[in-house]
Symmetry: C2
Subunit: 317 residues, 2 copies
Amino acid sequence: MTVSRALREPERVSVKSLSRIRAVIARLGYLPDPAAQALAAGRTNVIGVIVPSVTNNVFADVMRGVYAAAEDSRWQVQLGNSRYSPLEEERLVKTFLSQRPAGLIISGIDQSDETRALLRTSPCRIVQIMEISDQPLDMMIGFSHLEAARAATRHLLAMGYTRPGFLGARLDPRTQRRLAGFRDVAAAAGLLEDRRIVTTPQASTVTLGGLLMADLLSRAPETDAILCNNDDLALGALFECQRRGIAVPGKIGICGFNDLEMMAAAHPAISSVRTHRYEMGERAMRMLAAALDASEPAEPVVDLGFEVVERQSTLRP
Amino acid sequence: MTVSRALREPERVSVKSLSRIRAVIARLGYLPDPAAQALAAGRTNVIGVIVPSVTNNVFADVMRGVYAAAEDSRWQVQLGNSRYSPLEEERLVKTFLSQRPAGLIISGIDQSDETRALLRTSPCRIVQIMEISDQPLDMMIGFSHLEAARAATRHLLAMGYTRPGFLGARLDPRTQRRLAGFRDVAAAAGLLEDRRIVTTPQASTVTLGGLLMADLLSRAPETDAILCNNDDLALGALFECQRRGIAVPGKIGICGFNDLEMMAAAHPAISSVRTHRYEMGERAMRMLAAALDASEPAEPVVDLGFEVVERQSTLRP
DNA sequence: CGCTCTACTGGTAGCGCTAACATTTGTCAA
DNA sequence: TTGACAAATGTTAGCGCTACCAGTAGAGCG
């Protein structure tokens, strides 16, 4: 018992015992068995993180933030990949909950009803990331994809483009909200043309960006600006324009979404909507840790916002 | 006991009991407690995966393969991020081993002596990935970075370039072996010039590729071809050339490494060395699963090879 | 000196499961 | 009907910890 206490509440053990215990631990190379700890204590130090993709740069950045914040804390991160499938997400939530995690970080606000029920009745704290709404399961940190797409579209119109189009892939709920934002603003300006909206359920790649651009150009050659639902598509679209000798931004303006590092380095530099992915992961983890240590509710919903970063690719000459 | 058996060895339980048990499990929403299973059985279904970065595209692809192979199997993947630090790696190995994992997938062959000792004495099966050598800890799957860089350099020379340079960032052991391969072949052809080798310890980004290219051009403007130690640098270098109006491949040939998807989509399409990252992750996981189920050694070292993909960016006119 | 109080240490049960062995039930041949 | 054997099911102990409570030692006080 004293050894157990020495490891968890060292301030309640005498200095003498503490040093003896530590010496023996070092000599034997003792490591506590987390399974036994979990079983006896009825809880773990596991923070489950469920994201829809481990490959996508966006979630890679979020994960980096989560790992950075978990670093040097007693919390251990465990990653689950739902592959954009609500069913897979439900399965993952069940698996995680059976481990009695201390907390859960889960992407998005579109969980299935059963998943929501499971999460609500579980004793663990939850942070939803990537989006915001006024109905958090528990805590929430993200930004409005609708507003971000609206702002980006307004930027295109403000630059003087009058025939805007949209390239979209992998229409997950967030992507759809972005498309809705685009439609909103374009329609309000009387500039919405459905044939300038090209989407596909396939996963985003740079190559796909080129293909969608080619498709758009054949269907609506008058298009003078595009909002892409992510930066991979934007880069692919730029390359396609270069291949065809179409001047960017002279003939067509291109705006991406997420502002990956390469957007600033491209030639021309590509305008994009900066989202705070790393910070989102880091703060989600910190919110969870704070809630678990203090058991006080803290700020339940955090809006990290976004910024439209205007670069050459949307600079109408 | 019959319930426990029904879950693990259903063929040893009568059909009648099995259906009753399954009905009750479904009704109660019962999920086994993995901590109790681990404690009682003295082993887990956890496969630990230790990679040096969760952000890097290369490891993201490897992880995707690992997760794909773990899918629908009884193995559960747990990810650890060593952030290119041997000390952090050692800490992670200890943490993982305390969980009695069934297996471990670990990147590279440059573990510290203590890490190697820990791994050797542990009862769990191990697959080293990313590289090959003739001294596997247990199993191994990867390719020779030295040979890959040699082949890429030979390609540049075969295309008629005579003043080759090298751009390198984040000089981890694999990167250094690539640089060694470049030096080898360039020196053998009498074309090695140290001032055409520009490296930095910073992490690779597209922006950094541009900066290194600018640096190289100021130090060795005669350079007519570069091998980049990864594709981010190659893309950045291409953009920098475009900004300066330097024709690629006319004036300078560019070759990347890894053949990320965007290399083929770029304009001009960028030559690169294709490495089988997804397959490496997938097969590492399968090798582990096979070894754990059969307890037979299987093929201990698998060389996945590589291919030099020749595209426009190294097409000497 | 005995009492109280605090600081520390120790004893016991049990978390939910599985390994190993024990027992019961069922089947079939003689 | 019985015995032999296989199939199915049950019993027991214990995995390595922690929660809870029970000590025990030493200090301080009147």
